[in-house]
């Protein structure tokens, strides 16, 4: 795993450095023009968040039902990565919305549900930090709850009338604008790599913390 980290980090850094160039060369969307280019990182960040949420959901389930300490650590790491990507997703969406819709925020179904998802995972982290002994199980339950909320966030634009574009925009982008589709895929791949690297780093921190706890216990004995 450690051997893979450095090459993966170098590849991600290279692709990330190249991404602004690809975005600048991507075709302009006819109605929103320049501000639409926020889309490439905005969409990619929500994809990375989806992976982190899924990892947290699965890990939390394994921890709750099997008691695996490794899964607990992975769930914690994934929840933190989720909050980071969620924060960028909400801020970038707000910046885009200010220009495209004329408002910083709109309490419509998609935006409100995405905000609630972010709050659930912030809650997860607060429970882990201040919940005291046994907070791992409560946090794991929140991880499952947050994971179960994610599909509703995704489908909210199709089920309810919202100001946000529908999911069909992305599914048809390959046919309507291959130039945009290629850049969206590239940015998504970069953000997925980033998500994996951040998870690996956070897991290392949690593994070291677990080792430190064992050392403290051994020192007390």
């Amino acid at each position: 795993m450690r051997k893979l980290f450095i090459p993966a980090f170098a590849l991600t850094a290279l692709l990330f450095a190249y991404s602004p160039l690809a975005i600048a060369n991507a075709p302009y969307e006819s109605t929103m023009l320049l501000v639409q280019k926020i889309f490439y990182y905005h969409f990619a960040t929500w994809m990375a968040l989806t992976v982190a949420v899924t990892v947290c959901f699965v890990s939390s389930g394994i921890y709750l039902f099997k008691g695996s300490a490794w899964a607990d650590r992975m769930g914690f790491a994934a929840a933190e990565v989720t909050v980071i990507f969620g924060m960028f997703g909400l801020v970038s969406g707000s910046l885009w919305g200010r220009k495209a819709w004329g408002v910083w925020w709109q309490w419509d179904a998609r935006l409100t549900m995405a905000f609630l998802l972010e709050l659930i995972f912030i809650g997860y982290l607060l429970v882990r930090k201040y919940g005291g002994p046994g907070s791992e199980k409560l946090a794991a339950a929140m991880g499952i709850f947050g994971g179960a909320t994610a599909p509703f966030v995704y489908k909210s634009v199709d089920w309810w009338r919202t100001i946000h574009p529908k999911t069909s925009v992305m599914t048809s982008l390959g046919e309507t604008s291959p130039g945009m589709w290629y850049v969206a895929l590239l940015c998504t791949a970069i953000f997925l790599l980033m998500s994996g690297l951040l998870l690996a780093l956070r897991m290392r921190l949690e593994t070291l913390r677990a080792g430190l706890d064992r050392l403290y216990l051994a020192a007390e004995d």
Partner: protein
């Protein structure tokens, strides 16, 4: 009578002039193209785009810095514990 009527019409005209002068120009379909708006009514996209990308960079750098700080703290605590354990064995 005629004088009163003329005064009333003149008064109405005098009131109507400023009211009509303040009416916004009407558009045939209720919408105007964004590029025809005065500059004060238009928002430049550049700051929003740059703002989003700079925010992402800063967020990632800050997050990596916090992980690095926490890793350093845990590793130094581990070293301290190991040093104390070795000292204890030496006694």
């Amino acid at each position: 009578m005629l004088r009163r009527l003329l005064t009333a019409v003149l008064s109405l005209l005098l009131i109507a002039v400023p009211v009509l002068a303040q009416q916004p120009p009407t558009s045939p379909d209720g919408f105007v193209p964004v590029d025809t708006l005065p500059p004060s009514e238009q928002l430049a996209a550049g700051p929003f785009l740059v703002g989003a990308y700079v925010f992402f960079l800063l967020l990632m750098m800050f997050y990596l810095w916090t992980i690095w700080q926490r890793l350093g703290k845990v590793e130094s605590e581990m070293r301290e514990l190991e040093r104390r354990a070795l000292k204890g064995q030496g006694r």
